[in-house]
Symmetry: C2
Subunit: 475 residues, 2 copies
């Protein structure tokens, strides 16, 4: 694909926020130009904050579109070898190590990839094991031919209990089956210096890829975390990175009204201040369904914070909700249109689908069906999307639409980077640490205590001293 300047411009994703504005949605719910102007200082400061910190601390992810030439080469070479030799590629990871790979696979591969005949598929089948349910682990072994399977264990810390449990189970199986050659079925993606996995990988002789220090899990899709599986699946990872760089350039605009990630962040921030504590992400395309899942981690884990940077208790955050158009029109739209005014709904539109189907004639006698005949499914899905937008707007529900000209590696790169920047801007506006996750520790420590791990005796004692449950409250 020749990615020249004109083509890039034709692939620019657009943010349409008309339906966030009072003119379209009414004064009570919508925003005015005046409000946006009044908040200019907030936007400017967030812009400066992100610009000043990019590339440093936990904002290493901003540079991923630019600083990976060597790594991309290694990834593409490695992927080539895997595609030749293996029929299955299995990611062992959870959270940021899983959601990005799943989202990109679903967006850019055939929607029934794993069920296609090998000849048509042209790439290994793809699995992401992001849970430790014993039934699921067992189910996987029922269908995998280990001889033909490459595993990719991904954990930055090298100590994620779920991922390392999976690793232990699988490496044991591999060693029993392949002896010294077990390592040929395992690639480790982890921190270059810290943690155990890198030590294990070196001792076992695994091929390794590194997650840079300044790239947290939920911001890691454009690092080897996501790029390796994408390349194995035959996705043009260079185009993905170019799309991200293109979006980065668009978001260099200082004027909030010209910067798509910044205006989105500001509107979400203002909406949060007005009590909109829910952010619905609703793509109208099956291929983008799991982009919403990826977004939910990015938005939820980044902004859900108890304290701000000055140590004040803020209990910030907006709960992300994934929905799918048109499917969820028959599940959630009743609530979105008639329920509490507590949401911002983001619609993701696709202008041109990669396939088309004509709705056949055949029900001439039934006007409430025959009006469909002769139209296409693209027309139907996009008309329903516009109809939903209209129905939400007339019900005074805040909504905006992000449009992708089509779904390809470049536009997906744009979209991911757009959401990452939007999240960084919003976090700056909220004056919180966007890149940590202290709230996850509580549960981890309690698990360690329950497993009798050394060093967690105090937590164990605390748990044992917690008030005993009342049987009256169990029915």
């Amino acid at each position: 694909m020749a990615i020249n300047r004109d083509w890039q411009k034709s692939m620019q994703i657009k943010v349409d926020y008309n339906n966030m504005m009072a003119e379209f949605i009414g004064d009570e719910q919508g925003f005015t130009d005046k409000e946006i102007s009044a908040a200019k200082k907030i936007a400017d400061e967030a812009y400066k904050n992100v610009a000043a910190n990019r590339g440093s601390g936990m904002m290493g992810w901003t540079e991923l579109p630019y600083n990976q030439d060597e790594i991309v080469k290694d990834i593409i070479d490695t992927a080539k070898g895997i595609r030749k030799k293996f029929d299955n590629f299995v990611v062992l990871g959870i959270g940021g190590s899983a959601l990005g790979p799943i989202a990109v696979f679903n967006a850019l591969c055939h929607l029934r990839h794993n069920e296609l005949p090998k000849k048509v598929r042209k790439a290994p089948k793809f699995y992401v094991e992001d849970n430790i349910d014993p039934e699921r682990m067992d189910a996987l072994f029922d269908i995998l031919d280990l001889d033909k399977t490459m595993f990719n264990v991904i954990t930055k810390s090298g100590a994620t209990s779920e991922t390392m449990s999976q690793y232990l189970i699988i490496i044991d199986k591999l060693k029993k089956k392949f002896g010294d050659k077990a390592g040929e079925h395992m690639i480790a993606t982890t921190s270059a210096q810290k943690g155990n996995l890198i030590k294990i990988a070196k001792a076992e002789g695994f091929k390794t890829f590194y997650i840079p220090d300044g790239v947290g899990g939920r911001f890691s899709e454009l690092s080897p975390v996501g790029l390796l599986s994408a390349a194995v699946l035959g996705i043009d990872i260079k185009a993905m990175l170019k799309g991200a760089a293109f979006m980065d350039k668009l978001c260099k605009a200082k004027d909030v009204k010209k910067n798509p990630a910044l205006i989105s962040a500001l509107l979400q921030y203002l909406a949060m201040n007005k009590g909109k504590n829910i952010s619905v992400m609703m793509p109208y395309a099956d291929s983008l369904k799991y982009i919403a899942d990826w977004y939910c981690q990015l938005w939820g884990e980044s902004l859900g914070k108890a304290v701000d940077k000055d140590g004040n208790a803020v209990y910030a955050g907006q709960t992300p909700v994934k929905a799918l158009g048109v499917t969820d029109q028959h599940s959630q739209i009743q609530l979105y249109r008639e329920g509490p005014f507590d949401k911002v709904i983001t619609i993701i539109a696709v202008e041109n689908f990669r396939k088309e189907t004509l709705i056949s004639k055949g029900c001439e006698d039934f006007p409430d069906v025959s009006f469909l005949c002769g139209h296409t499914l693209s027309e139907l899905i996009n008309s329903e999307r516009k109809a939903t937008e209209y129905a939400l707007t007339t019900a005074k529900r805040l909504n905006y639409t992000i449009t992708l000209p089509e779904v390809n590696a470049f536009t997906i790169g744009e979209l991911l980077y757009y959401f990452e920047l939007e999240t960084a801007y919003t976090g700056a506006m909220l004056n919180i640490d966007t890149f940590n996750q202290p709230g996850v520790e509580g549960g981890k420590n309690a698990t360690y205590a329950l497993f009798g791990r050394k060093g967690y005796e105090a937590t164990k004692a605390e748990m044992e001293n917690a008030p005993k449950k009342k049987s009256d409250y169990i029915i």
Copy 2:
């Protein structure tokens, strides 16, 4: 399976609401016995309302566990024939016609059912097409052998645009391929009297199953809507119905503290009154992942209502959010523990999993991994569940746990019926019409208008007269 009384009792699902109570979660967030006693009247009235209306109007679903002997026989016979003759069973449906079948399939079949060899699978592969994305429709045809495929078109009204579009496309393909015998590949599940599909089905000679008038889409899983595909997959549908009847009996208890659906409804209602506008459904089992999706429609579409029964504007509703344990600990728990106090989190636990995996030894030198060795994945997932419960509770977050002794047809029947009753009780407490969905019409009408359907000229004119979007608000 011998479903005697002792076995049934051993399979009773339990609702543990200790962590909704002030004693465990603190006074500010939790409820006291006093508050529950003070709300006794509300619970009593909801109980009476549901008891008085059961079996009538749109509450026909309460009788499904009892009044389907003949239908179940027909379904089991039909399913037997399908299992012999076909390799694929494809549901065409959306909303309530899709979410129940998906949930039950995922709960009660092998987690990689479609990928198992035919001999092991013993039932057709299963697909539910609940969207009109043209890429997805095309992808399906890439993998289906029509000769070996049975379709089940499900729409009560016979006029659901999405489902009928799919039907038109597929029946056209079937007729081109099989001529007069096309009808042997299509079963229609619809209203016995109303709508087009029943007329089409009779004209084309399809096998038909009926959706009773008093059973709305989101309450239809225990009708032929869900039972046919379940039976085709080899699921014991009689046990499912027995489980529902068992739960119904448990919920005959008038005392709110003895009635699991009623106490849950009351606590959710009280939580909504305290501003908890989000209900998170978080099963700790991959098999129950899609039960959360099914719940999201049930809860969202039933309770999200603009007006109450007296015509007052109430904008009621609680936004359902699906999550999966332990996976979403690495995505959403940060927000749930540290974000706004705006949620009730329902954890679904499974006591005994159907499979087990031992975490192998092999990392003796690394204490932050080796503590896992020798434990099982069941221990890990259930310890992490308890740890999350503990972490939420110490952070004063409202949560309760529903425990299934194991996942089987009986307990799934119990669980579905429990949620249906809980929804009915909550709707009664809110004094809303739990069983309609007027908010869905707006979008439907706008779609008709965009498609130029006769009779929708006024909507079309209205849409054309809507304020034109400003290009300044599109970046």
